[in-house]
């Protein structure tokens, strides 16, 4: 176990999986010689050669399409899409092609395919480089979507995604790339479908995902000083959602706040709230409250961005709201 930065954990997962399985190969803009726009693929081209670590033209749709054909013939391609916003360019290949390939061939095709992409948080990347668009993907049967909230998850979930025989989209967070934590060495694989309890508590459950797990933990810390005990869940997977873990937590707390950095409207939190409204209504002592971005593009200027994208303060306010008598 050693302290590693998030981006280094991604690199380690890729390297170990490429070492373990010669079918694993990488595709993307600048992933080869430059080592990736964020350094996630540094050293891999030198180690595994230019055939397995392929620099591609700026042809995102074709590159995901290429990965589909290659996966069909037994490769395990990992495509890097530089910014999550650019998923808009590959939606047909993800939604109409990859997600349906197994189903519409009646089980003839198997598609071990990973798309790595990343979003950011309050870093003035502006309207076209800062969106959290995971809800687009979670609406589509046939895709799995995970959002690593820290270095351990970055390694463990990516390794699981690469070993999974379905298309998996891994949404990393560039704002966390420099964050360092203890990460287990070697074969550290986390299940793709399971949420994790990051902090135990009695009064309120905060179900969070991606970078908002960090904000939820900070909120819980601040609330603890006031005697409010929050249980913080890292959902990890946006689809499928681990309802069981949240439900079990609610049996104890009976109050739920959901937090994500994506637009609140139509977000993953809406699905979670609706599902629990159906299944766990009588466990609830207060209405479920969602924290998410306001319904506007993400602005460039820092004060504007802070007005749109929520943080721990909004989570604290939501917790106060569900605890209000």
């Amino acid at each position: 176990m050693a302290e590693k930065r998030y981006v280094r954990a991604v690199n380690e997962a890729l390297c170990e999986e490429m070492e373990r399985d010669p079918a694993v190969c990488l595709l993307g803009v600048d992933v080869g010689a430059p080592g990736g726009p964020f350094g996630a693929t540094r050293g891999l081209r030198e180690r595994f050669g230019p055939q397995r670590v392929r620099d591609t033209p700026i042809s995102e749709a074709a590159v995901v399409g290429l990965a589909i054909g290659a996966a069909t013939l037994g490769l395990r391609p990992v495509v890097e899409i530089m910014f999550m916003d650019f998923l808009a360019l590959v939606m047909d290949q993800l939604v109409n092609q990859a997600a349906k390939m197994r189903y519409m061939t009646g089980g003839q095709a198997k598609l071990p395919l990973v798309v790595r992409t990343q979003t950011g948080y309050r870093d003035s990347a502006g309207p076209q480089h800062a969106q959290s668009l995971e809800a687009w993907l979670t609406h589509v049967p046939g895709l799995k979507v995970v959002m690593p909230s820290g270095p351990c998850e970055a390694k463990g979930l990516l390794k699981a995604a690469i070993r999974d025989d379905n298309p998996v989209i891994v949404v990393e967070n560039r704002t966390l790339y420099a964050l360092a934590e203890e990460v287990p060495d070697g074969d550290y694989v986390l299940p793709l479908e399971r949420a994790a309890i990051k902090r135990e508590g009695r009064d309120v459950t905060i179900a969070s995902i991606g970078i908002m797990v960090r904000e939820a933990l900070a909120a819980a810390e601040a609330l603890a000083e006031r005697g409010i005990s929050c249980e913080v869940i890292d959902l990890r997977s946006a689809n499928p959602l681990d309802l069981q873990t949240v439900r079990t937590s609610l049996e104890k707390t009976n109050r739920l706040v959901i937090a994500h950095s994506a637009t609140r409207c139509g977000g993953v939190g809406a699905e979670l709230a609706a599902a629990l409204g159906e299944e766990a209504f009588y466990m609830l002592d207060a209405p479920i409250t969602r924290v998410g971005a306001a319904f506007a593009p993400i602005p460039f200027s820092p004060p504007l961005e802070r007005a749109i994208v929520p943080d721990r303060t909004a989570i604290i306010a939501a917790v106060e709201q569900v605890l209000a008598p």
Binding site: A62, L66, Q93
Partner: protein, 328 residues
């Protein structure tokens, strides 16, 4: 192009493939009109020489991606006619267990990795398969079949660029029938020749009479000679005629009666049979025999499909995801 000596066996095989496709699609047309087949249907009547010529130049192990108008290619590649028919009828014993239908047939056992309902979307899949073949050091090639309409998609250009750059073992085969749905080539393409557009990516290209299975075969063989030798991708453009509407039920009001007559006059089956008779390679009795065999095989396949069971609704959620346990 050096003309290949036409041997009797090859000639009969090409004619038989075209007859089989034609008989099959005429049956599909009739059963669709009789509402025995759900959904929508795109027929390749008039274009059979492309499928027959292409498939005759491929190995069974080569991989093929086709389009929404793909019945002919699937049949020519050697798929089981019964399972093709069953798929089109939405039956459980169809190649895709009834989940794909006419527009999404895949028959992996004969290398057909998929048809596609989204124009142009299969092109990068074929390139990806070619990339896998290259990486795995295998000898096969991948082929993408697409229409003239698909040449205007970004994916055609992205794929052509990457395939050329990476020297992928890929054949791009364009069925230029002069129409994208209801829109003629003159209205949808700035450059009439697809082969010319391929030149922008340094793809060697052939432009051939798509009504002549031997011309298609010769061009494909020559192109594949280069592809198999590791010289990178190539493109073959087949000029062909679509006789039926874009889909069954399309009254083709956008085409003049003269044009439609011309399309029928270019019937590849009649032209090829006439030529073989002229050259003494086929007599009328033999031609009738080939046609009868095709009709017989189609009748059996359709009867099979009609009698086959529909999928169990309880299986509708199977294969949404791959489950290692095999639990569906």
């Amino acid at each position: 192009m050096p003309a290949e000596e036409i041997d009797r066996a090859l000639a009969r095989r090409l004619l038989a493939t075209m007859q089989l496709i034609r008989a099959f699609e005429e049956a599909v047309r009739d059963h669709f009109a009789a509402r025995h087949i759900p959904g929508f249907i795109h027929l390749s009547i008039g274009q059979e020489a492309v499928a027959a010529g292409l498939a005759s130049a491929l190995e069974r192990e080569d991989y093929l991606y086709v389009t929404h108008r793909g019945h002919g290619h699937v049949i020519a590649k050697g798929a089981d006619l019964k399972r093709v028919a069953a798929e089109i009828f939405g039956k459980a014993s169809g190649y895709c267990r009834g989940r794909g239908g006419s527009m999404h047939i895949a028959a992996f056992e004969v290398g057909v990795l998929g048809a596609n309902g989204v124009v142009g979307a299969g092109l990068p899949h074929a390139a990806g398969a070619a990339w896998a073949l290259q990486l795995q050091g295998r000898q096969q090639v991948a082929v993408a079949v697409f229409g003239d309409g698909a040449v205007n998609t970004g994916l055609f250009h992205e794929t052509a660029n990457i395939a050329s750059l990476w020297r992928l073992p890929l054949l791009l085969l364009c069925e230029n029938n002069g129409y994208a749905e209801f829109t003629p080539l003159s209205v949808h393409a700035a450059v009439e020749s697809v082969a010319e557009r391929a030149a922008a990516y340094r793809l060697p290209a052939w432009r051939v009479d798509g009504q002549d299975p031997l011309a298609v075969r010769a061009a494909v063989r020559e192109a594949l000679g280069r592809v198999r030798a590791g010289e990178g991708p190539a493109l073959v453009e087949c000029l062909t005629w679509r006789v039926r509407g874009h889909y069954e039920g399309d009254p083709q009001r956008y085409r003049s009666s003269t044009e439609l007559e011309e399309a029928v006059a270019h019937d590849p089956l009649r032209l090829f049979a006439e030529r073989l008779r002229r050259e003494g390679l086929l007599n009328e009795a033999e031609e009738a025999e080939v046609a009868a065999q095709a009709r017989q095989a189609v009748a059996e396949a359709i009867a099979y499909a009609q009698e086959a069971a529909f999928p169990d609704p309880a299986s509708a959620l199977e294969d949404v995801l791959y489950q290692p346990s095999g639990a569906g």
